[in-house]
């Protein structure tokens, strides 16, 4: 029998009993909709992860020193702690590294978080650095033998860019907290101040709403200019436009607002740009933090796969400058990996659920087809009597199963189009993609057809005489 004629018969059979067709395909409808939703939620999760890390370059490596074990806000509020003002950078704070002579790479979040005082009270967290060098320190710690303070500098950045291969950019930043006055503020308020270089904007994937970012000459001349994060601009001036060209007082010194950043939203780590005020790095060193700075150097590896090698090279280089000093390395890639790995697990679980739904749906199809074969035993007998081959009868039933699942799959996709917005309003991140539709369709038709094989075989294997005499 010609396939086109078989299809015509299948069409007749399916349209003849629409209700039965729909009932048969319910399992497939649910299954297809589930697959689409699972993939959509998975993709949504991925998009969420990407969103959270959008200010991080995948090749970014943050290098910081947290060996001092103290971490307090600096500048005007430094009275809070007797320890070294470290720029407030390390989320893990001083207490966690207390007594530890080293911090391992990737631990404890290396980006300056701008988070202000965290664990600043633990001023006893000092280590011994027998061969530590560089700056002397004014720390009051009594148990120190070598009162050395390790501070990364712009020279280190220059060294890294000069001697370490495979990096596309490097920069140095610090964060601190300071009191701000000006604009619509009734009284002084504490904000995160980030001292950054001109290339920070590209490294952190930031965009300007208005004005220009900090320039090299701002930095060299230690200009008192600043760039406001979107939320900061709104809080202090009401809008970005109002903020542009205005002045604020940082630690009672006047700064001109040279620009406002675009809103970035929440980010998983690093400086939250919406909430920060950016000033030239050297300006910050001169007027705000002085030598009591604990900056973070950020290096961008050209190739994400090369991050480990870059870390090794940087470590070797820094060991020459700072013998017996361990720095904390935190690379964005591994953080992103961890975040997407947990998202992948969720997706896997949902996929397993979808698979179960499909198996149940397939068994449903199989049951209905068995009943159908039973109902149509007589018809099968007739077809055999007038010369229908086993092959064409099996093919007809199989095509019917495939067609029913095709209908079910299509309806399932339509259902998912309705469910997706609902899920979104319920708070799930849903991202519908064409590939999800294709995969769901393949699964739907595949399941229906596979579970249709056995009933179809049963039908085709009936003995004509017996099939004909069946009532």
């Amino acid at each position: 029998m010609k396939t086109s004629e078989l299809l015509r018969l299948v069409f007749i059979n399916i349209t003849q009993n629409k209700f039965k067709t729909i009932m048969t395909s319910i399992g497939i409808i649910v299954g297809a909709a589930t697959i689409v939703m699972v993939i959509a939620i998975g993709k949504g999760g991925q998009a969420d992860v990407a969103e959270q890390f959008k200010n991080l370059n995948a090749g970014a490596i943050d290098i910081s020193y947290e060996g001092e074990g103290t971490d307090s806000s600096s500048g005007s509020s430094s009275s809070e702690s007797g320890g070294m003002p470290s720029g407030g950078g390390m989320p893990s704070g001083g207490s966690s590294s207390n007594g530890s002579s080293s911090s391992s790479s990737g631990g404890g979040g290396g980006m300056p978080s701008g988070g202000g005082p965290s664990g600043g009270g633990d001023s006893g967290g000092m280590q011994m650095f027998d061969f530590g060098s560089m700056f002397g320190s004014s720390s009051s710690m009594e148990d120190r033998i070598n009162q050395e303070k390790v501070t990364l500098t712009e020279d280190d950045v220059d060294d890294i860019t000069t001697f370490v291969g495979g990096i596309s950019d490097a920069t140095i930043t610090f964060t601190t907290k300071s009191d701000i006055e000006g604009g619509e503020l009734d009284e002084a308020a504490s904000y995160t101040i980030a001292g950054v270089k001109s290339n920070y904007i590209t490294i952190s994937n930031l965009e300007m709403t208005v004005g220009d970012f900090i320039t090299d000459s701002d930095d060299e001349n230690k200009e008192k200019v600043c760039i406001l994060g979107a939320s900061v601009a709104k809080e202090i001036f009401g809008s970005a436009i109002d903020a542009y060209g205005s002045v604020i007082y940082i630690d009672s010194r006047l700064y001109v607002v040279n620009g406002v950043l675009e809103e970035m939203g929440s980010v998983a780590s690093g400086i939250s740009p919406d909430e920060a005020i950016f000033i030239p790095y050297d300006t910050g060193i001169k007027y705000l933090v002085g030598d009591d700075v604990n900056p973070t150097v950020t290096v961008i590896a050209e190739d994400v796969d090369n991050v480990d090698a870059v870390i090794e090279d940087v470590t070797n280089l820094l060991t020459e400058s700072y013998p017996n000093t361990e720095f904390t390395y935190s690379d964005a890639g591994s953080k992103m990996e961890a975040a997407s790995a947990s998202n992948d697990i969720l997706t896997m679980l949902l996929m397993a659920m979808a698979a179960i739904v499909f198996i149940v749906g397939g068994i449903g199809i199989m049951n209905v087809l068995f009943v159908s074969v039973k109902e149509r035993t007589n018809e099968i007998g007739i077809l055999k009597a007038i010369g229908g081959s086993q092959r064409s009868i099996m093919f007809e039933f199989l095509l019917e199963a495939a067609a029913i699942s095709l209908i079910g799959g299509t309806l399932g996709l339509l259902v998912s189009l309705v469910v997706a917005p609902v899920a979104e309003t319920l708070g799930a991140s849903v991202l519908l993609t064409p590939s999800a539709f294709v995969i769901a369709m393949i699964f739907a038709v595949g399941t229906g057809t596979i579970f249709g094989i056995y009933p179809a075989y049963k039908a085709s294997a009936l003995v004509p005489v017996e099939a004909l005499s069946a009532e």
Binding site: M1, K2, S4, E5, R8, L9, I12, N13, Q16, N378, E379, G381, I382, L383, K384, A385, I386, G387, G388, S389, Q390, S392, P464, V465, L468
Partner: protein, 224 residues
């Protein structure tokens, strides 16, 4: 020329215990081309089994069967499918139309099985449909037709393939007297047109419409 040649056909069924049911006993039968034969027998005589064997729907236990040049006793199931389609036109007591398909689709089914398209098959069946007066009803479903009309659809289906024999199993059994007589008149006409007909019946009156009648009793065949 003999179109059906049955020699020493035996058929056994496995029964309870070791016994075998001997349903057909050394059947010898010849049907000539253009003949109209009635096989008359009461129920349980083995006539249905004989009809199934003649119709290539059941296997004989042993014997020789030649249908229009095909050696059925040697044929494989795959060949039997083709032979049923090309050589035999079945007409059943209960019409056996497919309820979901309309009259036309039912009639052309044997031609579709041969690989024709619906249009080719429709062209081939126009004359048959007209002859049986079904032209007005080709889009009807079987359940919208009377018993006599349904049997005419079944006869049309049997005829479109231009088979070597028409094999009718109690063709009037489910019909009222008038419809039954019409079917028998139609058979006579088809036979006059040169069709070979083998009709199985339990009704001696019906059998009288045939040219020749053989009787089957307890699995044995007798010429009348």
């Amino acid at each position: 020329m003999a179109i059906i040649e049955l020699k020493n056909i035996n058929k056994y069924y496995d029964a309870a215990g070791d016994e075998k049911l001997h349903v057909l006993k050394d059947i010898n039968l010849e049907v000539q081309k253009g003949e109209y034969l009635a096989i008359l027998g009461p129920s349980g005589s083995g006539k249905s089994t004989l009809m199934n064997i003649i119709g290539c729907m059941d296997h004989m236990s042993d014997g020789y069967y030649c249908l229009d040049g095909e050696l059925i006793h040697e044929a494989k199931e795959k060949d039997l499918v083709r032979i049923r389609n090309e050589k035999i036109g079945f007409i059943f007591q209960k019409y056996h139309l497919i309820p979901t398909y309309n009259v036309l689709q039912n009639i052309v089914m044997p031609l579709l099985m041969r690989g024709m398209t619906l249009n080719e098959a429709r062209e081939r069946s126009v004359d048959t449909i007209d002859m049986l007066g079904l032209g007005q009803r080709i889009t009807h479903k079987p359940n919208e037709l009377s018993g006599g009309q349904q049997q005419r659809v079944a006869i049309a289906r049997a005829l479109v393939g231009e088979p070597a024999i028409l094999l009718a199993d109690e063709p009037t059994g489910a019909l009222d007297r008038n419809s039954g007589l019409e079917v028998l008149k139609l058979f006579k006409r088809l036979n006059d047109m040169g069709n070979t007909i083998v009709m199985i019946t339990h009704d001696a009156d019906v059998a009288t419409h045939a040219q020749r009648t053989v009787k089957i009793v307890d699995g044995e065949i007798f010429e009348l």
